[in-house]
């Protein structure tokens, strides 16, 4: 681009307010907001972006942050490992968790059985590894159910408002008033099924109001932004407003809370199983093992410590993952 010659101009309060403003030059001034300026130099992207030349969405910005966050990397590694052994426990534990030998009850660790044996003579290592499958299944399915139900109900209530919203808010209030453990004891004690489904169903039933509240709040916030108004002024349908404009901007808090909740569902499963209303043998679960080992805590603490440790690490990993994701997604904390 050629240099603009220096055009002497009149001073502001000067007398000759003539109109000899160079039209071509003034045209150039309007169109030249493009970065890089008149020299067309390599100074790159728009203001503030500097070295970041490539187009980046907020999600890829978040990923950029996460990749460098040791908390995220640590917890993600733990979770990845858990998922792998949940799918294929035989990869690291070839034994059968249900094959027990009473003769070895409460024995300590020995070659081939690093964690020792529990009160029934079962191998603690094998059972701990196989227990991951139950915990991860319950946690993931309960979270999916809660997130879907909660965000659809909460999102619609937040978007449409009015009576819908008032009714849903009162219902969530009622659910919040139910004590989780007591509710579990009452509701699950009447169930005789031996599968994970009643436990998952119970968690979804009690968990959705939490997500629904968050989804409702963030939809209401997103709804008020001018870009939603702008799309509405263009004639966009409600479905388009919700799916294209509101949902992508409201989903972050739901993801964060759901990730943290996943950890708490795993520990809730253990709690319920410990209390005898959750999963029941022969299902292999950390909660059942903790429950079974607690009477022998003096003689065989290892039978209690290994499944408890696995549980604690798993729950912690999900909570820390949730924290890391929140930090990455919330631009205000930057």
């Amino acid at each position: 681009m050629p240099e603009q010659p220096y055009e002497p101009e009149r001073a502001v309060a000067g007398t000759g307010m003539g109109g000899q403003m160079d039209l071509a030059a003034s045209e150039a001034t309007t169109v030249e907001e493009a970065p890089g300026g008149p020299s067309g130099g390599p100074s790159g992207g728009p203001e503030g972006t500097g070295p970041r030349e490539k187009a980046r969405s907020l999600w890829s910005d978040a990923w950029h942050d996460l990749r460098r966050n040791p908390v995220f990397l640590g917890s993600a590694l733990v979770i990845l490992f858990l998922v792998v052994i949940a799918v294929r426990p035989s990869l690291i534990a070839s034994g059968n968790p249900l094959q027990c030998d009473l003769a070895r009850a409460q024995d300590g660790s020995r070659s081939g059985h690093p964690f020792g044996f529990d009160g029934q003579g079962c191998d603690v290592y094998t059972r701990t590894v196989h227990g991951a499958r139950t915990s991860v299944t319950v946690g993931v399915l309960a979270t999916l159910g809660v997130a879907l139900l909660g965000s659809v109900l909460g999102g619609l209530a937040g978007f449409f408002g009015g009576v819908w919203d008032a009714v849903l808010s009162r219902i969530t209030d009622i659910f919040f008033a139910i004590p989780v453990v007591l509710g579990g004891l009452v509701l699950l004690s009447v169930v005789t099924s031996n599968t994970v489904w009643p436990v998952i169903g119970f968690m979804v039933l009690l968990g959705w109001p939490q997500i629904s509240r968050i989804a409702r709040g963030s939809v209401i916030t997103a709804k008020q932004h001018d870009y939603v108004q702008a799309a509405r002024a263009l004639g966009a349908s409600d479905a388009r407003l919700l799916l294209r404009h509101i949902a992508p901007n409201a989903v972050a808090p739901v993801i964060v809370v759901a990730t943290i909740a996943l950890g708490t569902y795993i520990s809730l499963e253990a709690t319920l199983s410990y209390l005898g209303v959750g999963l029941k043998p022969p299902t292999v679960s950390w909660g059942i093992d903790i429950s079974a080992a607690s009477p022998y805590i003096r003689n065989a603490p290892h039978a209690l410590l290994w499944p408890s440790g696995a549980l604690a690490i798993t729950v912690l990993a999900f909570i820390m993952l949730g924290d890391a994701v929140r930090d990455a997604l919330d631009p205000k904390l930057r």
Binding site: A13, S26, T29, T30, V31, E32, E33, A34, P35, G45, P46, E47, G48, T49, R52, A55, R56, S57, L58, W59, V163, A166, V167, R170, H225, D226, Y227, Q229, A230, A231, R232, A233, L234, G235, A236, S237, R240, R244, H245, P248, N249
Partner: protein, 340 residues
């Protein structure tokens, strides 16, 4: 007189104040817009000025059908659009578009610039054949002075002025006849404001647009407007051509407003006569009786508390054809000539 492109009469928007959770009881109303009339002719710019809370932003939302009026009509080319819905409303929306104040919240942060500017074509597929859209978006970016190569960037990679250009490109996409701009430059830096004002003026000539330009900055409104309406507490209190309002204001509120604007000329400060109004704007839930400006007016008399002044050419100027003969809602209108 030819039919104006937009005619607004008796426009009212009250927001009810309610109590109760499930069973709501109305306990009052925020009278955001309380009887507004104006017209907009083809190709002209109507400026609406007023302080915060005067209802000017609500007027903008009513014009683009983002809100439904409590009463009154908006005639677009002779057709009342306030009762339209569905397809008919969507068709009208193609012709009346809006530019928003805050360039930071008016663009969806999860969408690329290309998607934002191209969205009007997704919503109105008849406006552009599918294969043509990419090219249209690039043309639009070019028209508003942005590099068309930026289609894949996200809004947060742009400065305020550039974002406002993106918002203008989106508003322009469907080739509307009317653009309602609600404080389009007030969030921008001084040196960038002028660029955006110039752009809007250039586009008006190029695309034969009619503007409703809403702002609190009196000097920018004067620069861009052909006619001006001054709003106070939900009503237009004075309206006329740009010269009539700025050089011969007859309503005391307009006079005070104009005298309060700081002028970028230190010579002026010694011999400037300023009207400093007392107090604050009353709440729109509790509008004073009679003339709504009387509580702050330096001319208020008994009559002002009793009788609502109509927006009309004041009797004393009706016979004259001078610049003071324009509509002003004051019982005691007086010409206060401003020589700038």
């Amino acid at each position: 007189m030819a039919e104006p492109i937009l005619r607004v009469s008796g426009l009212v928007k009250h927001y009810p104040l309610t109590r109760g959770i499930l069973f709501k009881k109305q306990v009052g109303a925020v009278k955001a817009v309380d009887g507004v009339d104006f017209r907009l002719d083809r190709g002209e710019t109507l400026g609406i000025v007023g302080e915060s809370g005067c209802g000017k932003s609500t007027v903008a939302k009513l014009l683009v059908s983002l809100e439904r009026p409590t009463a009154g009509t908006i005639h677009y080319k002779g057709e009342d659009i306030t009762s339209l819905s569905g397809k008919a409303l969507k068709a009208v929306r193609r012709n009346i578009q809006m530019v928003f104040q805050d360039p930071y919240t008016s663009l969806n942060p999860r969408m690329t610039v290309g998607d934002i500017v191209g969205e009007p074509f997704d919503i109105h597929p008849e406006a552009a054949p599918k294969g043509d859209r990419r090219g249209r978006v690039r043309d639009l970016l070019d028209v508003v002075g942005l590099n068309p190569e930026y289609v894949n960037r996200y809004p947060h990679q742009f400065s305020g002025g550039q974002r406002q250009r993106i918002g203008i490109a989106r508003g322009l996409a469907l080739r509307p006849e009317i653009i309602v701009a609600d404080e389009p430059v007030s969030a921008l830096d001084v040196s960038v404001q002028a660029q955006v004002v110039n752009l809007m003026e250039r586009l008006q000539a190029e695309f034969d647009l009619s503007y409703v330009f809403i702002a609190h900055d009196l000097s920018i409104v004067r620069h861009i407007s052909d006619r001006v309406g001054v709003m106070y507490l939900g009503r237009i209190v004075e309206t006329g051509t740009e010269t009539e309002i700025y050089d011969h204001p007859t309503h005391p509120y307009t006079q005070a407003l104009l005298s309060a604007v700081p002028v970028p000329d230190p010579q002026a400060r010694e011999h400037r006569e300023r009207i400093i109004l007392a107090g604050d704007v009353p709440s729109p839930t509790n509008i004073p009786s009679g003339c709504r400006f009387r509580t702050r007016c330096f001319k208020a008399r008994e009559r002002c508390a009793v009788q609502v002044p109509a927006l009309a050419v004041p009797a004393e100027f009706r016979s004259t054809s001078g610049p003071a003969a324009h509509e002003s809602a004051c019982h005691f209108a007086e010409d206060r000539t401003n020589q700038a």
